[in-house]
Subunit: 159 residues, 6 copies
């Protein structure tokens, strides 16, 4: 069966998908991503991580706030009344990376995958911003949906 793009209608117009006939259900989405950096940069972050003014704390808030701004950023996203957003960042010395996980919940007619992915992206950008004077070569990657449940399309997971 051919898959198709749900955000473009038969006439070629971009549309915000009509969810008015969908039931409001409890939905969860979890996204992950990473910021890869020089070992020395990770060390700068890691030595502060349990103190006031840490990079990870600022990035975490940026992620939470971005989840709330998702419909402003992604043109065809529905506005949703998020009931929960959590963002966690951990340092991984082995991979010389900061790993980010965002979890969003809503009871509504549409999912919150984009909210979780936007939270991860904004948190990653904030890590970059705060460390860029030390390391302009950092890379943001592996941003993906790792779990989604609730809604007609059922449960999705990937590593």
């Amino acid at each position: 069966m051919a898959k198709k793009l749900t955000h473009i209608d038969a006439k070629g117009n971009a549309v915000m998908v009509d969810v008015s006939d969908k039931p409001a259900t409890a939905r969860i989405a979890v996204a992950k991503g990473s910021v890869f950096m020089a070992a020395a940069t990770l060390k700068l972050i890691d030595t502060r991580k349990v103190k006031k003014g840490d990079v990870l704390g600022v990035a975490q808030l940026a992620g939470i706030m971005a989840a709330k701004r998702t419909p402003d950023l992604i043109p065809l996203c529905h506005p949703v009344a998020l009931s929960s957003v959590t963002v966690e960042l951990v340092c991984d010395k082995k991979k010389s990376a900061v790993h980010i996980t965002a979890t969003c919940k809503v009871t509504g007619q549409t999912g919150v995958e984009m909210e979780a992915l936007a939270a991860v992206s904004a948190a990653a950008l904030t890590v970059y911003d705060m460390c860029k004077a030390a390391d302009r070569g950092m890379k943001i990657g592996d941003i993906r949906l790792v779990e989604k449940s609730g809604g007609k399309s059922g449960r999705f997971t990937q590593k």
Copy 2:
């Protein structure tokens, strides 16, 4: 010479770096990133790419608009009067990816790296949003600064 985090002051406070003594200079930043996807998903995008309502056109606009919202998204970014933003997206069948390039310009006291990176991130998220019904396994990666010039720290390039 030890590098340090410019966004955290001696007392551990997060700060918006004081740029009031910097001269206003012409600054450019170029960032890149990619959305990796199933071959069938790329084909869905590629067959529309020169028509009205294409995914890439929507993502491009999302990128341009996000560049303007950067100080709202990234907590310690300065507001800047962007003089130019361009975002380009190309399909790469070999890597089964959409590659995104954003270029931002400003004449000001601070650079526009974050604006370029935010544009790439929002464009990538929009590609994800528009194709997610067909392919939830897409990954966003390789988001990085590839060029920066103007300002005291001089020219930076990476591939």
Copy 3:
């Protein structure tokens, strides 16, 4: 029976009307409007209209995004969880105009007329912005509600 202004209370205070006792019902609003221009300007738009980068595609997105920003723009509008927004633009050579139609849906305690009208307005402004270097004399007009249903006041239509 004398009609009155619902947004001004007995003391002369502007108020966001209290809808807390209204039931949540399915509501639809359709608004229309036009951008009138020189024939040569319309031709510039029309020759691109099925291609990538068309004026109408950018204006359409601007309309959809503005619908979501309505409570930020119109001081006494309620925030609403839009379940659908569509914006369509067509070229009319006879009237030398671009005609815009926006349709908004919500299940809620208040209507979405302002969202539909804001979408039409932003799409019209975007057509103006993109063509202004060619034609500063364009006029935006005929912005009106053409249909409204759901809610206590019942169904409204006009041409």
Copy 4:
């Protein structure tokens, strides 16, 4: 001489026009527009117009605030540091209309036509919003640029 669309580049990409090489000059733009309504609706507005809580006062503020939000609303508009915004609304019994005039000023590399037009549009939408319970048949029209000066393209006026 053929005119062209400045916001679409040779490859068909929508772009925020590069103004980085333009000098910063003093620029003014004046836009006008009207809300046409039933005589009884105009009377409702007119009898309050010098009192607290008047429709015109709310609409005026909405116009001023919308001018500042223009780059958020119009996808390819530059952010500008507006140095002045004024919005005036007058009742016209003969035409059964409220006429709106917005004047914007900036010293910058790009004009403020869109800011003036956005201010008029938001003020008109606000008049509609505040009177819609009394008169859903109102029409917004005649939105146009009436004056523009400063910048390379010189002075433009129309009635």
Copy 5:
């Protein structure tokens, strides 16, 4: 019984509190605050207060609009679909102050205390802004929640 901070989890992460298991109930919050000023400044406000263009009218709208922006301003606040916002300002010659009261309502899973407090704060700041050329020594104070009902924690009142 020890009270604790609900917005910080066991690992020290700031979180948007998970309200997904709470029932949607009718909630009201009332907040108050004052702007204290020189007698001459209050007179400037008071003589205009029933006319067009009054300081109190502008401040009132600023308060209503700020209530809607609360989740953008307060990092860990939930987005809520406010069903009513009213803001009232009165002049108090005896205390040489403007007193502000904001009332917010919602039917939802979380309260609207922050919305009411944000409305009071923005209205107070706007009074300051409009009078600051006459009196830079004004003080904003006594911002507090005076009533809250709905929700698990029950009714709260203070003077």
Copy 6:
């Protein structure tokens, strides 16, 4: 000499003051304010203050971000390109309060008093939000400008 309200013109229209003829000068504003609370609440904050996830760190970021949003919040404020924002919060056991200081800088045609006051207000509201489950009786007060320099009106200080 009679002082007057600069934001209301001769016709009674609220206006964004025209600063187009003012020179761009270096300007600084410092504002202060406090959140008064129960001793037990202050202790909850104080014991975390040097750790990750502290209330003061979240409030500080909220203040910095609010400074950037000032023109969205205060209707007649000019958009400004802030060159520096710092927000500091300290615990005062004697007064059972958190004291907040915000400092804003800009090189521009208009001052940044409102930005500093908005930063203090948002930081104070965030302290309230994060501690409200423990103490709904907190009060926000003493919000005032303590220093202002640059611009025609000269230097202003108060305690």
